[in-house]
């Protein structure tokens, strides 16, 4: 078992921030994975063995970018322990699905919209633009960077056994908890929007009514609601252009 130096670990962790740099449909983040793990490989191998190690890590791989560090750390540990290439390949194949699913559910579907909603609600509550942006960016990135650090550190520590830690981390429960907070903030945003529309005369009340209809359409139809909404938007633009042409 070889210990990976602190500077190499730091370099690998920092490189993980651009792991999606060469995202493509052939190897997805495989090239980024090879780029990020390169400092570890350089410390462990030389010459043709280094080229061969780089090649096997450039193969197809995909995961949520914030949790890819977990696979990166674990693979670095396996390389340092002298694990067989076949074992590393199987490990990466097994872990990429869960890392993608958990990351999407926690970060894209829960944490990001919830923290964005903090900024939006703050705006309607009267906070200044810079304050709203900070109220979004600071909590969002606190969670983001903490997840990256946890993932990379856990991977490095546990290596092949990282799946057990991942199961115990209960990221799904965390996503559920964050989603609940998001729903409260979403309700607050809807409340602010209703009042913003209902203030004043009958025209504004009309907008509030239309907003309620649009909200219901989104709730029932989901993403499909954008089709009629987009048609309506295009129709509006066409009307304006017709008026302009007169």
């Amino acid at each position: 078992m070889t210990e990976i130096s602190l500077s190499t670990r730091l370099s690998t962790f920092l490189r993980s921030f651009i792991i999606q740099g060469s995202w493509n449909y052939r190897t997805m983040i495989g090239g980024g994975f090879a780029f990020a793990i390169l400092p570890v490989l350089r410390e462990l191998f030389e010459g043709p063995r280094l080229d061969e190690a780089v090649r096997r890590h450039a193969e197809h791989f995909n995961a949520h970018p914030y949790l890819a560090g977990l696979a990166l750390g674990a693979t670095a540990r396996l390389e340092a322990d002298g694990a067989e290439p076949e074992l590393m390949l199987r490990f990466k194949s097994a872990i990429k699905g869960p890392l993608g699913g958990m990351g999407d559910a926690l970060m894209w579907a829960a944490w990001l919209p919830t923290t964005v909603l903090i900024g939006l609600v703050a705006h309607f509550a009267g906070a200044s633009p810079w304050m709203c942006v900070l109220l979004f960016l600071i909590p969002y990135n606190a969670g983001h960077v903490a997840l990256r650090l946890w993932g990379f550190g856990t991977g490095l520590r546990w290596g092949h056994d990282v799946g057990r830690v991942l199961r115990g981390a209960a990221l799904g429960n965390l996503a559920e908890l964050v989603s609940r907070g998001g729903v409260v903030l979403l309700g607050m945003l809807a409340g602010f929007l209703c009042v913003a529309g209902a203030r004043g005369g009958p025209i504004e009340l009309l907008w509030t009514t239309l907003m309620a209809v649009a909200f219901t359409a989104g709730l029932i139809l989901g993403e499909r609601a954008w089709r009629p909404a987009a048609l309506l938007a295009v129709g509006t633009v066409v009307c304006v252009l017709m008026v302009a042409a007169r």
Partner: protein
């Protein structure tokens, strides 16, 4: 100068969206404020960002999916709105930004196809580290250039469209905002559905709604 500044900002923010870091300074809320600040009116830029943010609340950079590019769309819309005050410019600028976001999403997919050629080929028997580093950093540079071009072209075309047609916009400022908030309400509905739906979340959603209505009245 505004076009150059906006294009460079668009390129930098486009990188943040998927390629570098993903610190989310590319979200419309932040991009609108930064674009408005660069163009000389941070408050107007931020308002554009707020509207676009609500529209794009449900657009996330998930895996290989095609999604509208909020960063370049917001820089285009905010720069245009700041340069041409008035409800017509707001409506056409934000509408153009939404449309341009779709185009931006398409260019991301095209670039990912191109990256297939740029990224290192794992089928090669040996892969020198220099090939991996060069390919990866070249792809990052390409994404920046893509962002610059998408934003620059968007700001230029949007400026022409807004200058030509904004005077014919039939609605006043408040009604224009009302119209856009109707569209934004679709996103709020979709997001509630994504959070679990009204049937499952009705108690906490209604709790938030009451607080929001009270806040809207008293704040």
């Amino acid at each position: 100068m505004t076009l150059l500044n906006a294009s460079l900002l668009g390129g930098a923010l486009a990188l943040d969206a998927t390629t570098v870091g993903q610190f989310m300074i590319s979200r419309p809320l932040v991009a609108g404020l930064l674009s408005g600040w660069l163009a000389g009116d941070p408050v107007s830029g931020f308002l554009v960002g707020v509207v676009l943010e609500i529209y794009l609340l449900v657009a996330f950079p998930v895996g290989g999916a095609r999604f509208p590019e909020g960063a370049t769309a917001t820089v285009v819309a905010a720069t245009t709105v700041v340069a041409h005050p008035g409800p017509g410019a707001f409506a056409l600028g934000v509408g153009f930004g939404l449309m341009w976001g779709q185009l931006g999403g398409w260019t991301i997919n095209a670039m990912r196809t191109l990256n297939g050629w740029v990224a290192p080929d794992p089928a090669a028997p040996l892969l020198p580290p220099a090939r991996v580093v060069c390919g990866h950093l070249l792809a990052v540079l390409l994404d920046f250039v893509r962002g610059v071009l998408v934003t620059g072209t968007g700001v230029w075309v949007a400026g022409l469209v807004v200058a030509r047609f904004s005077g014919n916009w039939p609605l006043g400022e408040e009604d224009t905002v009302g119209l856009f908030l109707v569209g934004a309400a679709v996103s709020v509905g979709i997001l509630l559905r994504s959070f679990g739906g009204l049937a499952r979340r009705r108690v906490i959603f209604l709790g938030g709604l009451i607080v929001g209505v009270a806040g809207g009245i008293f704040l």
